[in-house]
């Protein structure tokens, strides 16, 4: 099952993964792998099943069949919240932050989830210094360190997307599932995120869903193309670009 690219065992791997909704198969027999240090992009037209795939991986949807392994351990029946503690983090396409709380609190909650222990739950939140420090570090990583005290809902859209990523980072994931991080962003903000992602790819494995083709070809090490719920092709960006099937089904001559 496991494709070992770069000679390393995959951090995240699926086999025969499928999900049906009534009579419709949104995801069919998907085998996808993610290796450490890899920035793996999943692309495909609308309705290809990419979002469903992310939801299956993060645990928000249960698969109809198939396996998901995280660092070798089967997780497809594990509740979503528990997967976070095994090192799986995800960000959302539609900004899913705590709008009425401060920016710092948003990230602090993310850090607390993986850092706090049951017996210290009654400590005042302000005095749990390591958690606050981890939150501040995550904010600094995405460049929002000076916005900590602001109410999250007052941030500009681009900054909110960065906050999304900061929250995902604060839970110290090994694997990052990023669902359209660029959604609704202009070109310079996109540049900022591209730099950030390349930076993050060094220490994390990233599975990226994106529509922006230029962006994807720029940052990805590996690509998977999905059409109609199934994997059409996978390979390096150059291979994908040259692939005739992909050109026909999706790229429509852009390559």
């Amino acid at each position: 099952m496991a494709e070992t690219r770069h000679g390393r065992t995959p951090l995240l791997a699926t086999q025969g993964l499928g999900r049906d909704f009534g009579g419709l198969s949104a995801v069919r027999d998907v085998a996808i792998t993610l290796s450490p240090g890899e920035l793996h992009a999943v692309i495909g037209p609308n309705g290809a099943g990419k979002s469903t795939l992310v939801n299956l991986l993060s645990g928000e949807l249960a698969p109809s069949r198939g396996e998901i392994r995280l660092a070798g351990e089967r997780i497809e029946t594990m509740p979503g919240w528990r997967r976070v503690h095994l090192g799986l983090g995800r960000s959302y396409q539609r900004t899913n932050i705590f709008k009425s709380l401060s920016v710092l609190e948003n990230v602090r909650l993310a850090a607390q989830a993986v850092m706090s222990e049951p017996r210290s739950l009654l400590r005042p939140a302000g005095s749990a210094r390591q958690i606050v420090a981890a939150a501040e570090a995550a904010l600094a990583r995405v460049g929002l360190e000076s916005s900590g005290a602001r109410t999250a809902g007052t941030l500009a859209h681009g900054e909110q997307r960065l906050l999304e990523i900061a929250m995902t980072l604060a839970s110290r994931p090994k694997v990052l599932l990023l669902d359209e991080p660029l959604a609704g962003m202009g070109p310079e903000e996109g540049e900022r995120i591209a730099r950030l992602l390349r930076d993050l790819a060094a220490e994390h494995a990233i599975l990226l869903i994106e529509h922006d083709m230029d962006f994807v070809f720029q940052v990805a090490d590996w690509m998977t193309v999905m059409v109609d719920g199934a994997v059409l092709a996978e390979g390096t960006p150059e291979t994908i670009r040259a692939n005739a099937d992909v050109q026909r089904a999706y790229l429509g001559g852009h390559a």
Binding site: K99, L101, A110, A113, P124, M167
Partner: protein, 349 residues
């Protein structure tokens, strides 16, 4: 840490000072009241405040709107009745833990089942469970049936020392016991809200979906809050037994639960002290309206309409009216959809 990280607690020294002044005013009441009737009325109001405060842990802090909370209150009062022998009151240090334990245990069972649902379902399920408990006391002889029963009041006691007051002063003693419990309850909840656990509850209220995605087993946290709230309602119910020495099925009726919700809304959903204000106002209003008309339900109904339609931030909101911070609309408590920028409730006061 930013100012608005625990918005339910006073944001400034002035705010805390206001609360202290309020507590002192309550402490002075027995000396200012024209007769014992008003002291007893005050105790009733303090008990209502404790019930409302206990429910606020669920509604305002965690976003769980329960219509069965009154059942834990009444259950505690009945527990006192059931453990007390026929003609002698037991000391408080025996009856209070018993009442709180029973309320907590039943809350654990009800919560474990109800929290498998959300929103409207949760509301109806808690209502149904509350009704079940009502049925137990209404249709059986367990607690004296529909007529209720008298009980020997628990004695004010602690650490082997018992407070024995002459008959005329007993209401004052009871009043202070209630006040002390209320103050301790507020302080305890304030500390809880500032703790790591309290932040999780807040996160659940604001966006439970994201909390799950961040790695929190929100069910467990909500259940803990539910049990704690049930136990605190038990403290209030126990105090009722001490105060009136009488139990009847109305104590566990769902109208009691709805009134508790109302007191929260009246006083202010967005602060911890709001429900206390709401309870005091509600009891006061009930008294005042009796001077005007016998049609109590009419007055209550109209008051509720006015409060919900007009008084968005409750009585507590009137205080902070002048210095409202520029924050975006608060997401609705108990609304089915998570905070994702689409359906924000109409509650921006």
């Amino acid at each position: 840490m930013a100012d608005n990280d625990t918005p339910m607690l006073p944001a400034s020294r002035a705010g805390w000072l206001g609360l202290v002044v309020g507590a002192l005013a309550l402490a002075a009441l027995p000396y200012l009241a024209p007769s014992t009737y008003y002291v007893e009325l005050g105790t009733t109001a303090l008990i209502a405040a404790m019930l409302a405060l206990s429910l606020q842990l669920l509604v305002g802090c965690t976003g769980l709107v329960s219509l069965g909370h009154g059942a834990f209150y009444g259950l505690a009062a009945y527990t006192v009745y059931l453990v007390t022998p026929a003609n002698a009151g037991l000391p408080m240090w025996m009856t209070l833990p018993a009442a709180v334990l029973v309320s907590g245990a039943v809350a654990a069972v009800v919560g474990a089942l109800s929290l498998r649902t959300k929103g409207f379902f949760f509301l109806m399920v808690t209502l149904a469970f509350g009704q079940m408990i009502f049925f137990v006391f209404h249709d059986t002889k367990l607690g004296g049936g529909t007529d209720g029963a008298y009980l020997a009041r628990p004695l004010i006691s602690a650490f082997g020392w018992e407070l024995q007051l002459p008959r005329r002063q007993r209401p004052i003693g009871t009043y202070y016991v209630a006040l002390i419990q209320l103050v301790l309850m507020y302080i305890g909840l304030a500390l809880l809200l500032r703790s790591l656990f309290g932040r999780v509850l807040q996160g659940i209220r604001v966006n439970e979906h994201r909390m799950v995605a961040l790695g929190y087993d929100t069910y467990r946290y909500k259940l803990a809050a539910f049990i704690l709230a049930g136990m605190l309602a038990g403290v209030a119910g126990h105090m009722w037994a001490m105060h009136r020495g009488f139990v009847n099925p109305e104590l566990v009726g769902w109208h009691r639960s709805a009134e508790a919700l109302l007191m929260i809304l009246l006083g202010g959903l967005y602060t911890l002290h709001g429900p206390i204000l709401g309870a005091l106002a509600w009891v006061g209003l009930g008294e005042a309206s009796q001077l005007i008309t016998e049609r109590k339900l009419l007055v209550e109904g109209l008051v509720i309409l006015v409060v919900v339609l007009v008084l968005r931030r409750g009585l507590a909101g009137l205080w902070t009216f002048a210095r409202r911070p520029a924050e975006p609309a608060r997401p609705p408590a108990g609304a089915p959809s998570p905070e994702s920028g689409t359906a924000e409730g109409a509650r921006h006061g």
